[in-house]
């Protein structure tokens, strides 16, 4: 019986278990207008990638714990020391020094505003968010960058105050564990598995 491919790390090596690909036969493509002559063939692929978050792993782990982490350049020799990044950058864009990880959950709860947004009626293959997807780009006080995420309750507007919510129940360990709701949203309105 097949099982999803699973991976863990031991001695800094990947250990694999389960099925990472599934065999599906090639099927001929034929031309209905010309006596079903051969035009080509399908090439099915069903693969599982093994992806490292590297130095960003603490960010994705923290989402499932209800925390929003960012990074800050603390290099005293950097011209732009003190710059805070969200999205989380492992290294400073200017001096390339290793940034310090900081917790900005409280800052996000008090200063987050929608910079811009869009409502997406269509999606690409493998999308797992409900449609329409409501992208929002969030600006924070004192942070140099603007984070892209999605709104789970209500309709977005530029300048709207929003609060972060976190998938703390069965987190997926992806960026989808972070979402946002309008300020004033009640706990019982949050999507399944999410908490403030």
């Amino acid at each position: 019986m097949s099982m999803f491919g699973q991976v863990y790390v031991k001695d800094n090596k990947y250990k694999l278990k389960g099925d990472f690909h599934h065999l599906t036969p090639n099927i001929p493509i034929r031309n209905a207008d010309e006596g079903w002559k051969l035009m080509g063939v399908t090439n099915p692929r069903d693969m599982t990638y093994i992806h490292s978050y590297g130095g960003e792993a603490p960010f994705f782990e923290a989402l499932g714990e209800g925390k929003l982490l960012a990074t800050r350049c603390d290099n005293p020799d950097c011209e732009f020391k003190g710059t805070i990044y969200e999205p989380f950058r492992i290294h400073c864009a200017d001096c390339l020094g290793k940034n310090t990880i900081i917790d900005i959950t409280e800052l996000a709860k008090t200063t987050s505003k929608v910079h811009t947004f869009m409502v997406c009626e269509r999606a690409g293959a493998f999308n797992i968010l409900d449609k329409p997807v409501k992208f929002i780009n969030i600006e924070f006080e004192g942070i140099a960058t603007i984070l892209m995420s999605y709104l789970s309750v209500g309709d977005p507007e530029i300048g709207m105050k929003v609060l972060p919510i976190f998938r703390t129940k069965n987190p997926t360990c992806t960026i989808l564990d972070l979402s946002w709701v309008p300020d004033g949203t009640k706990k019982e309105e949050l999507p399944e598995g999410f908490t403030f």
């Binding site: 493509i29 031309n31 035009m39 080509g40 090439n43 692929r45 992806h51 978050y53 960003e56 994705f60 011209e79 732009f80 710059t83 990044y85 999205p87 950058r89 864009a93 910079h115 811009t116 947004f117 869009m118 409502v119 997406c120 009626e121 269509r122 999606a123 690409g124 293959a125 493998f126 999308n127 797992i128 968010l129 329409p132 997807v133 992208f135 780009n137 140099a144 960058t145 603007i146 984070l147 892209m148 995420s149 999605y150 530029i158 992806t174 960026i175 989808l176």
Partner: protein, 478 residues
């Protein structure tokens, strides 16, 4: 904050003049079940030879190095596709290299070929680009394109690239468009124009006679962008032959093609718009810092640069390109443009980045009628026509070929051969397309200088390719 060092702002200098002598392209379409990619590339190369009245074998004998633009290995499920094409073109054992910069791949490929000739390494280089986006269903195609966004931070949010442009469209519409319906209509007018010009182009994938209302009623993809605001997903190939002066003269001796001088400026910016930090606007020769002092007052919220409304990569590409070539004001110094209209909104954003209009005022380029072949308001020639090919919205977006198609299109005007190439009855017939009864010659009369913008991602890479008739240069030592 991005601050530039003196070294970073060096004006690029080529060691000798570089010319484009010919180019060619295949038919462009949504799917081509009857042709392999190499057949499309051979079609493009054969056309390039034909415009020089040479056989493909004769033209091949001049090629010294080859640069191949192909955006997405995962679309074609073929690594080292460059080696396949090089082999099928019979160019072994010449040196060749693959170039990949997303949507700007075509422009970047020409950039590499130009540098090879400028440096003296080669006297004649081939720049060839292609894409085949018909090897997966459309929703999987959208997934694969969205893989060009940051795969951990952005792609999972819908796996649809249109969404990443739509947030820009929303911000631009509300700040610089002042949330007016008239601005949304101006965006729609761009789509009408580009699908309309595509009707005169036998190569084009999506010729359509449509109205602003049709665009505004087309299905919403990512609000405020609708289906007809978006570029195509195409299959096709395009090429350009880049030479030094001696080779250019020799190759064109039996041809109506006059060698055109070519320069490429290039810029970049963060892959994620999220990472774009506030900075001062790098000024073009026709701008002053004073003119932007009150930008935030005139357009509340518009003072963050480049924010979600400008493309720093495009600004830097022309910052270098204009200074290399002596362009002071593109509207005065150039005769036509081919812009990377991935979406109607990005077309407007680019007008400002390249200095056709100041930041905040891009819509006027369309509303004034300047962007048309014939200004619909005055009936006279448009001041600076753009995307007479139909662009990415009307002609094609076969990604690796797109930038080369745009450069080729500009060159056909400077060669004064646009009408001959696009009006050719045989070509329409060979492509199985019907030439419209109202077919119009879109040749820009007396065109001497033009520019093509090739653009990747949400502005991660941009090239500005400037072409000039060598007898109409703006700067002696360019």
């Amino acid at each position: 904050m991005i601050k530039f060092s003196k070294q970073q702002l060096k004006i690029p200098k080529m060691m000798r003049p570089v010319y484009m002598v010919t180019g060619g392209q295949s038919k462009f379409d949504r799917a081509m079940p009857d042709k392999r990619t190499e057949e499309l590339c051979i079609d493009a190369f054969t056309m390039a030879a034909g415009l020089l009245n040479m056989s493909p074998a004769e033209l091949k004998s001049y090629v010294h190095t080859a640069y191949y633009g192909h955006f997405a290995d995962h679309f074609g499920d073929q690594l080292l596709g460059e080696a396949v094409i090089h082999d099928r073109l019979g160019l072994d054992p010449l040196g060749n290299i693959g170039v990949k910069t997303g949507g700007a791949t075509g422009g970047s490929t020409v950039w590499e070929a130009v540098k090879a000739v400028a440096s003296g390494y080669s006297d004649c280089s081939l720049a060839m680009g292609w894409e085949r986006m018909d090897e997966v269903p459309t929703d999987e195609g959208n997934f694969l394109i969205a893989a060009a966004a940051d795969k951990d931070w952005e792609s999972p949010l819908g796996h649809i690239y249109t969404g990443y442009y739509a947030v820009m469209a929303q911000r631009y519409w509300q700040i610089f468009g002042k949330a007016e319906d008239s601005f949304r209509e101006t965006l729609a007018e761009i789509s009408v124009k580009h699908h309309g010009y595509a009707r005169m182009n036998p190569f084009a994938h999506s010729p359509k006679k449509i109205t602003v209302d049709d665009v505004l009623k087309s299905p919403v993809v990512a609000h405020p962008l609708r289906a007809l605001d978006c570029c195509l997903m195409s299959v096709g190939a395009a090429c350009a032959i880049i030479c030094d002066e001696k080779t250019a003269i020799e190759l064109t001796k039996n041809s109506a093609n006059k060698p055109v001088r070519i320069w490429v400026g290039a810029g970049s910016h963060t892959l994620r718009p999220a990472d774009r930090r506030d900075m001062d606007i790098p000024l073009l020769p026709n701008e002053t810092a004073d003119q932007y002092k009150d930008l935030g007052k005139r357009f509340p919220g518009g003072d963050r640069y480049p924010g979600f409304t400008g493309f720093l990569a495009a600004r830097m590409a022309v910052w270098y390109g204009y200074r290399m070539t002596g362009v002071n004001d593109p509207s005065e110094d150039l005769d036509l443009l081919e812009l990377h209209d991935a979406f109607t909104i990005s077309d407007v954003q680019t007008y400002e980045d390249i200095g056709v209009r100041p930041y905040g005022e891009g819509r006027d380029y369309v509303e004034s009628g300047d962007c048309y072949h014939t200004n619909p308001k005055t009936g006279k020639p448009g001041k600076l026509p753009s995307n007479l090919s139909g662009g990415l919205i009307g002609c094609m977006h076969a990604v690796g070929a797109t930038g080369i198609m745009q450069i080729f299109e500009v060159a056909t005007h400077i060669w004064n051969r646009w009408g001959e190439i696009h009006g050719d009855e045989k070509r329409w017939k060979d492509f199985g397309r019907k030439k419209p009864a109202d077919w119009t010659d879109l040749q820009v009369k007396g065109a001497k200088r033009g520019m093509a913008i090739s653009h990747a991602g949400v502005g991660s890479h941009v090239t500005a390719t400037i072409l000039m008739d060598p007898d109409h240069l703006l700067k002696e030592d360019a």
